[in-house]
């Protein structure tokens, strides 16, 4: 129904709008956000000048812009250092092989610091891993809950109790359990990574379960009747009707949880000192140097930008896989 209305209104405005109206609309779409950003930058730089902290003035747009360049240069310099590191290592390995032919040289990873760009990549990998892991658990569980009202009634109280818990509250428990159970001499994943991933997973899983189960439970009964008339087996019913029908709801849940996950990850990284953007901010706060505030402000903007991009990316994927185009607009 919604789709119908959407389509209907869309059509008439397209058909009836005059050329000048359309130009005006597209101009509005293009200029208003730019106008908004310009006003924001002005207000920001004005306000920044008024705020004095013990670490100096609050960073304005210019100092953030400088910091962006600075952080990028730092990244390039660090990469050069890494290249030199590998070169030295190869020489050292060669010298050792010359002395001791039985030695099997190994290339060890660069041991230098993680740059801002590295931290961004780390955070993105962490959030996506936690998100995918959550989906692996949440979608089947949500389908089960949506299909069986008895199971739903039994499990729902537990979900409702855990859902409002901030994953940060879990963090100490996760950390302790991981360090007690995830023991290996040469672990494939670092413990800190596992901690962050599990924390992200814990926050993603609830919206996904709930939305999936609601989506599954509210599949159009006519479609289910089609399945009954065709005598589809339970697995085929899920595969051909239930899952495709619930995709809009599942994706709504996924988008919601990715947004929360990104917020929570930054906080978890700050709290647990796990590598990533959160740790970058915390380290800069601890440093208390004159450039710390502008670096933190840069990170804040980058976090926002990435959060926005993640949401847009989910929207694009949702539009692509979902049959209900209207649900993606919500």
């Amino acid at each position: 129904m919604n789709a119908l209305i959407h389509k209907f209104t869309g059509k008439t405005s397209d058909g009836e709008a005059t050329l000048s109206e359309r130009i005006f609309t597209s101009l509005k779409v293009a200029t208003l956000p730019i106008f908004g950003i310009v006003v924001f930058l002005l207000l920001w730089s004005l306000a920044a000048k008024q705020i004095d902290t013990s670490l100096g003035k609050f960073p304005g747009p210019q100092s953030v812009a400088q910091e962006v360049v600075g952080l990028y240069n730092e990244h390039v310099a660090e990469r050069e250092k890494a290249d030199a590191f590998y070169e030295r290592q190869e020489k050292r390995n060669a010298a050792r092989v010359a002395k001791d032919p039985t030695y099997e040289p190994r290339i060890r990873n660069y041991t230098g610091k993680e740059t801002f760009l590295d931290q961004i990549v780390t955070s993105l990998i962490t959030v996506m891993s936690g998100f995918i892991l959550a989906a692996v658990f949440a979608v089947p569980l949500g389908v089960l809950l949506g299909l069986s009202s008895a199971f739903n009634t039994a499990v729902n109280p537990i979900i409702q109790i855990f859902k409002p818990v901030s994953p940060l509250a879990w963090l100490p428990l996760v950390t302790m359990v991981v360090s007690a159970t995830y023991v290996s001499d040469d672990p494939f994943f670092a413990k800190s990574f596992v901690n962050s991933v599990i924390t992200v997973m814990l926050c993603c899983i609830w919206p996904m379960i709930i939305n999936t189960s609601i989506g599954v439970a509210s599949v159009d009964s006519d479609w289910l009747n089609v399945g009954k008339v065709l005598q589809l087996s339970p697995i085929k019913k899920i595969q051909k009707i239930v899952l495709p029908a619930s995709i809009p709801a599942i994706f709504t849940g996924m988008r919601m949880s990715l947004g929360i996950a990104w917020m929570v990850l930054i906080a978890a990284e700050m709290l647990a000192q796990n590598p990533g953007l959160g740790k970058f901010i915390w380290d800069e706060f601890q440093n208390g140097s004159s450039s710390s505030l502008s670096r933190i402000m840069t990170a804040v903007l980058v976090i926002g930008l990435i959060g926005f991009c993640l949401d847009r990316a989910m929207l694009v994927i949702q539009r692509w896989v979902s049959w209900d185009k209207a649900s993606a607009a919500r």
């Binding site: 009747n225 005598q231 009707i241 995709i247």
Partner: protein
């Protein structure tokens, strides 16, 4: 001649918070092979429930449905349903919607090439071969209902069940589809049970019209034989006295014998009555 489809003295009740609601009581109906039967009645009289019992989607409390000497309790493709609002799966194209049904019914008996030909044949039958690769949201209501009919026909059912198939369409589209349906019926000679609340439609398409009393505890009121010669031509029928006689008989049943008392109330409570329509 032996009864092909026997709806034998069925009662249907639904649980409600206020206790059991008796929707149907002692509905008894015998349908022959190749016969086109319409069920007509006011909204809420339970005609859709009769159809659902035949389809196996609703279980009778008493009595049962016998198709070709076998009792039916569960849904099955030999009783294909054309749903009121087409019920096409929106994530599949027209072709894929029909394919889902065809593959399910004929996966053991037909080769891949035969399946493809069969799907295309059925889409051609409803004049939808040009829209094979369209999704439901790219089609008009009439097109969607045609695909819905093609899907049901493609299952080669023993009985074709149609639940107000043209109810949601505008008058012109409805006429087109009715003509198409008659054309197909002339060729395939299916056994059809159709729900309708449109008197003209019932007279135009049916061999028999089953008129139902008002609920609760609705049942078969009168049965009217329609002996108009086929093929029927809607324009010439409009002048036909026999046609008009049949028509007035149905109208008399609906608006005199079973005049709905709530009709007065309905104007006041239109949103809720609309809901009732959908349920019926």
């Amino acid at each position: 001649m032996k009864t092909f489809l026997n709806i034998s003295d069925i009662d249907v009740t639904f649980p409600t918070p206020k206790g059991e609601f008796t929707a149907l009581q002692s509905v008894d109906l015998k349908i022959n092979k190749g016969e086109f039967v319409s069920l007509i009645g006011h909204s809420g009289c339970g005609k859709s429930t009769v159809l659902n019992v035949i389809a196996g989607l609703v279980q009778a409390k008493r009595g049962g449905v016998i198709l070709k000497d076998k009792e039916v309790n569960a849904p099955g493709p030999e009783r294909a349903v054309v749903f009121q609002n087409h019920s096409l799966l929106p994530w599949l194209t027209a072709y894929q919607n029909v394919e889902l049904a065809v593959k399910q019914v004929f996966r053991k008996t037909k080769s891949a090439a035969e399946i493809k030909d069969w799907i295309e044949y059925n889409l051609k039958l409803v004049y939808m071969d040009h829209a094979m690769n369209k999704r439901p949201d790219e089609m008009s209501g009439g097109m969607k209902q045609r695909i819905g009919i093609a899907r049901a026909l493609a299952m080669q059912p023993e009985v074709l069940l149609m639940d107000e198939p043209f109810g949601a369409l505008d008058a012109l589209t409805r006429a087109h589809l009715q003509d198409s349906l008659m054309e197909i019926q002339d060729e395939l000679k299916n056994t059809v049970v159709m729900i309708t609340h449109d008197v003209d439609e019932a007279v135009l398409l049916s061999d028999r019209i089953v008129m139902m009393t008002n609920g609760p505890a609705a049942t078969v009121g009168e049965i009217l034989d329609v002996n108009l010669p086929r093929p029927r031509e809607r324009l010439s029928l409009a002048e036909d006295p026999e046609y008009n006689h049949l028509r007035s008989q149905v109208l008399t049943f609906l608006y005199e014998k079973q005049a709905k008392i709530e009709t007065v109330k309905r104007t006041k409570a239109s949103p809720s009555s609309k809901k009732n329509d959908a349920v019926a």
